[in-house]
Amino acid sequence: MIATEAMPQRVQIPLAAESLSEDRIAYLERLVRQARTAAAVFTQFTQEDVDRIVKAMVLAGLEQAQPLARLAFEETRLGVMEDKVIKNMVATEFVYNYIKDKRTVGVIREFPERNLVEMAEPIGVIFSITPITNPTSTVLFKCIMAIKTRNAVIFSPHPNAWRCCSEAVRIMYETALKHGAPEGVFSCLESHTLQDNAYLMRHKDVGLIDATGGPGAVKAAYSSGKPALGVGPGNTPVYLEKTADLNTAVTDIILSKTFDNGTICASEQTAVIDDEIYDLVLKKFEELRAHICNAKETELLARAVIDPETGFMQPTAVGQKATDIARLAGLSVKQDTKLLIAPIQGVGREHPLSVEKLFPVLSVYRAKSVEEALKVCIDVNHAGGLGHTAVIFSRNDEVIRKFGEVMNAGRILVNSPGSVGAVGGVYNDLAPTFSFGCGTGGGNSTTDNVTIYHYLNIKRVARRTQGHMWFRVPNQIYFNMNAVENIRQFPSRSTIIVTNPALEQIGHVDLVRRCIPEGTHVHVSVIPDAEPEVKVVMQGVEALNFYKADQIIALGGGSVIDAAKIMKLKYESPEADLEELAAPFLDLRKRVIQYPTEKINRARLIAISTTSGTGSEVTPFAVLTDKERGRKVTLADYSLSPDVAIVDPQFVMSMPKGLTADTGIDCLTHALEAAVSSYASAYTDSNAMQAIRMVFKYLPIAYEHPRDEEARCMMHNAACIAAMAFSNASVGVNHALAHAFGARFGVAHGRANALMLPHVIAYNASVPTKFLPSPYQKGYIAHKKYATIADLLGLGGHTIEEKVQNLVAATEQLLDQLGFPRSIADLGISKEEFERAMPDLTKLAFDDPSWRSNPRMPLMSELADLFWKAYQGRGGAKVAPGTQEQSA
């Protein structure tokens, strides 16, 4: 195989329009104005109007297929008259068959499941360059497409095909007019220069350039600054793999390469043939009247048909018969020779016949292996045919797939002829076309077979979608006193109880053990009473593996339950990468990282909460501390949710007052933030509102009277109910602030929440500086939600503002009642220290994902302002007056 050398550059058409006379400019302006008016008038036409006109044009084109083919042949002296008739018929009948039922006016496609409708907008005026090789068929095709899409076209045919093209335009125009098309919808330049083309390509009222022509015209079109469709040059490799049906392959290649004497740019240029079948293939070619050139003949042929200066084919050879080309080259061939076959040993300038040859000359290459064959095909593809067409004959799916992978071609045709196959609609289901998009490889904007959709601006009418929401909680929740007894119903061979030392000491673990069915092996894994560390979790996983556990009972507060969730994850899916799973996300359903679904172990997780705040027994969250790296990892996925939650107040009866207050306010913050969250739904609202009511009623009692069973029970349930709300609606800016402040100053989470809460209610109830995208909510409703909560609590007030203010006051009163510090300053943090911490605090809070579901988007300055308000203390939280609707 010979490496490909750089192919020569073709000459670019100049774009200068300065030399045009005033008369010529006036003429061109008239054409454009006329087309613009026609296109404007055309916008009023219905689908039925255009379909009626199109049908009439197609019938006229079919009727005139032969006269137009004859005219084209006589004028251009290229190709085969009979084949040009076929081309004209394909350009009309086949194109019609493809487009007749397609909508191109108004709504063209509907996607009800996506709430999306596509509508058509015509382009307006199209400036169209048509080629010498397929002159009338291209005009017929473009006229039909233009009418179907309600566009006007100004044609600029190749100068040596002007008569036949202008006649085709005339026939199409008159037929269209007769059937109601607007006057001026088609026009054809009466003789033209490159300057005319340049002027029209840059005209402000020309919407699109459709350049089907030589590379110069295509390049000029793309260089004009206008949207353009252009076809690139071809150099189609065809690979005959040893499993191919050789009779089909040889016949198809001859058919393709001799069709209109090879003028279709998708026709095969170099056949790469497997060594095993090479001789047989050539014999079959010969039997079907191909002439196989010897080395001397190949050299003579190359000299005759390839320009030694440019390396491109000689224009005089284009579209000529094989016998005429043989004569031109001084070869002696039989009179009935259809095709000249020239063996080559490589691709590139040293092998002149390896380039595009729009005449019946086919290069052939003998390949010793599939690998070599594919490499030569790549060389041919890169020698001037990028993006165009490639052909393979094979029955080996693996080779076909590989060929498809390595060829850069808009059309990769399998077991069918290149030219007629690429046109589409005959050998395959490609869109019938006379304009082949060649992608960026060919300097084009598309790899498609150009069709009606390329003549349209497609508008998407996207209706607001009420994305489906969710409400996911553990499927079994047992609550109220002695709910722990329900553990009896869960059979287990081996159970691990994860807990902390204090709970073991006060007998809670024994309480649980007594409920585990007899015969179950039980192991207690005691972990420190702190946020779980990676090391601790991995030790737990070792225990799970050692005891081959099928059940985990997490008995404790948020830390213990979180640890158990992660142990279960790593036990069931050891490959789970915690670092990766903690990757940030905006929408749970669209997150980049997916949690593992393949499990090598399975264990039921039963969570028994011993505090009334985090609600970790029902949440899909878990926080892990990575001490080695000095960071926290937050995991969030519904697969982390425990399988069973037990909300039994006997485990919280002995909670100290401070912990009761802290966890109770954490619970209230969960509920308040879930209620105004942008992910709030009727499902989460019902939980959030209920939890808020329970907290306001029972938290003060549980705080003042820790042994009050009803108050403890209600608060324990409230924490779980609030957690169900925020598991599905998430939290908000209060948590972002509390996380940052708590981490920076070592303040308990509930306490940090309490310091921010009244200020955040006032903040969210005011008109936001910035709204957050919130497809689930109708307008901004946070203030109304707070007012509803105030009504629920019976706080009074006539206007929304009054009600929100009353909610703020009630919250402050509750915090006072629970003995919370009134300000950050009350914690003994100096103003200077707080000021120094402020840049870190605002950065941390802004990076915290909690606020992503907050109803208003916090600016950094607003976060700082909220911190300062919390520093100064309660009593100052005011809803900005006059900024919200006044009626409740």
């Binding site: 613009r36 008016t37 026609a38 296109a39 404007a40 008038v41 916008t43 009023q44 607007p182 006057e183």
Partner: protein, 91 residues
């Protein structure tokens, strides 16, 4: 204050004539001419030419031409051929 001196109903069937008549009446008009387009569903190239002429005459004579009841489709055509800016519109 401009006074409506002429009010003409434009019939789609004889649109060009009606527009020409409107053009002829511009001589005797002070203020503005109102053309009722409410029965015009479609407009063709020849009618557009007539409208362009009318706009030219009105401009020369300093008369404002108000088109009433123009349909959205016809309005879009006038916009595409850049004629919309040469008329006033009223519903």
């Amino acid at each position: 204050m401009a006074m409506v001196a002429v009010w003409l109903k434009i019939d789609e069937e004889r649109m060009i004539q009606a527009l020409q008549e409107a053009g002829e009446k511009l001589d005797s008009v002070e203020g503005e001419v109102a053309l009722d387009f409410s029965s015009v569903r479609r407009i063709d190239p020849s009618a557009l030419r007539a409208m362009e002429e009318l706009a030219g005459i009105a401009n020369d004579k300093g008369v404002k031409v108000v088109l009433r009841g123009v349909s959205v489709d016809v309005y879009k055509v006038l916009k595409l051929v850049k004629l919309a800016s040469r008329f006033s519109f009223a519903s």
